[in-house]
């Protein structure tokens, strides 16, 4: 039989926390290229890494949120193309989410998390679109400005709907785990 978590040493708990963090990020990254039935809208999947950044930043400082955004953005760059970077958009998402002061204004439940993810997907999409329009490459690879924003309009909404619907899948277990950790720290 395993001992209850509250009897574990702080070091083991810390290690376990990092295993959970790294494991969940890896899981999110590996789910990105996957398209299961019900996980697809117009050929798009949910933005799992963005959901993870929101779940992480909700109860942390803006700096921690930005750091998580940069790290996960670089990973997503590795899985698509390094340019323009996802790190900028996800860092914005991390900062904004942390600054939301959720406890003060919004009830804590699935619906508010879904709403936050919805808004943050729109933010991240817009940052990517701005990056595309600002740093246009050479003539052979640049996309016409009008097409970027038409595409942004077409996809931002469906991407936001899909990500916000799937947000609780990532948010709920992570939140439970971190709440439990906090409770153990306070009671010891």
């Amino acid at each position: 039989m395993l001992k209850p978590l509250s009897q574990w040493s702080p070091l083991t708990l810390n290690m376990l926390n990092w295993v959970v963090i790294v494991g969940s990020v890896a899981l999110c990254a590996l789910t990105l290229p996957l398209r299961l039935p019900g996980m697809e809208l117009n050929g798009m999947g949910p933005n799992w890494l963005l959901i993870w950044v929101v779940a992480w930043s909700l109860k942390r400082t803006a700096f921690q949120g930005a750091l998580a955004g940069i790290v996960l953005g670089l990973i997503q760059d590795g899985m698509t193309a390094p340019y323009p970077s996802h790190a900028v958009g996800l860092a914005c998402v991390g900062i904004l989410t942390a600054r939301l002061q959720k406890q003060r204004y919004i009830e804590e439940d699935f619906i508010s998390v879904a709403l936050i993810v919805f808004g943050m997907v729109v933010v991240a999409e817009s940052v990517t679109a701005v990056q595309f329009s600002l740093f246009k490459g050479t003539d052979s690879t640049s996309i016409p400005l009008s097409e970027i924003w038409v595409y942004h309009q077409q996809t931002a909404l469906s991407s936001a709907i899909l990500s916000s619907l799937w947000a609780p899948v990532v948010y709920y277990p992570l939140n439970r785990w971190w709440e439990r950790l906090q409770w153990i720290e306070q009671s010891s």
């Binding site: 990092w18 890896a26 990254a29 590996l30 990105l32 290229p33 996957l34 398209r35 117009n42 050929g43 798009m44 999947g45 933005n47 750091l67 940069i70 790290v71 996960l72 953005g73 670089l74 990973i75 997503q76 760059d77 590795g78 899985m79 698509t80 193309a81 390094p82 996802h86 990517t128 595309f132 490459g137 052979s140 690879t141 996309i143 097409e147 595409y151 996809t155 991407s159």
Partner: protein, 256 residues
């Protein structure tokens, strides 16, 4: 009193962990996620599926047609050689399963379950039932990433098969693309087939790309045609990868 040592003692762990996270993420970005993709392939290995019976029948029929086509092609080449025309040969193809789609919808990519060890190199041409799909942009040991022709950053020199008008095809996400023609008044109609042109530097000539859906002659700069790509990219599970003769790197790997 404020002491930098005390601050360092308190934040040492967090800081080093943050730095480690940054370094790991940076290395993932620099290696183009090669390690992640390898792990992904291992996990999805049991779900990659086998061709069913119906598919085997279709495969047999396809094989028969391919053999007839190959015979005709070689006959064609022999005739062209008689006419002293430059001969274009197609390399040997590797069949690869599609194991993943693009990780972000701004890029139109797919991941294949074959890589370096199966002699797939950057620049290899990816073809599926229906026509051209894209080009390999990076490869790890067992996986490779394909930039689809529907990606907005991909450019292909194409020609219409009926009237031989040249243009440049640019992807528009999904299964749509746009051709910009060089001429002011191209003789192109909806329904015309579009294939890669002999001027394309990345693709061999004559590969089917799609079908013209509508014309937009009123565009300011150059007349445009909207094209529906012929390969059903979102439904295909298997593709064929050709190491094209035009990419010098892949030639080295075929004939060591």
């Amino acid at each position: 009193m404020y002491s930098p040592y005390r601050w360092w003692d308190r934040h040492r762990l967090q800081l080093s962990l943050a730095v480690i996270s940054l370094i790991v993420a940076w290395s993932v970005r620099q290696t183009q996620g090669a390690g992640l993709l390898e792990v992904y392939r291992l996990i999805t290995l049991p779900f990659q599926g086998n061709p069913t019976q119906q598919e085997q029948l279709v495969n047999a029929r396809t094989w028969e047609l391919e053999q007839r086509l190959a015979a005709l092609e070689s006959q064609n080449q022999a005739l062209q050689a008689l006419l002293k025309q430059p001969v274009v040969t197609q390399g040997k193809g590797t069949v690869a399963p599609v194991i993943g789609r693009s990780a972000d919808h701004w890029w139109q990519q797919m991941t294949l379950g074959r890589g370096h060890l199966d002699a797939i190199r950057e620049g290899a041409i990816v073809v599926a039932p229906g026509g051209l799909v894209g080009r390999v942009v990076s490869a790890s040991d067992h996986t490779s990433r394909v930039l689809l022709i529907s990606d907005p950053t991909s450019r292909i020199g194409v020609t219409t098969s009926r009237s031989r008008r040249m243009g440049i095809l640019r992807g528009q996400a999904g299964d749509r693309a746009v051709i910009e023609f060089y001429e002011k008044d191209p003789d192109v109609r909806p329904g015309d087939a579009v294939s890669t042109s002999s001027l394309s530097s990345l693709f061999p000539p004559g590969l089917l790309v799609g079908r013209v859906e509508s014309m937009q002659l009123s565009k300011s700069a150059a007349p445009q045609a909207l094209v529906k790509l012929s390969a059903p990219v979102s439904d295909i599970n298997w593709v064929t990868v050709y190491l094209d003769a035009k990419t010098s790197k892949s030639m080295v790997s075929i004939n060591p």
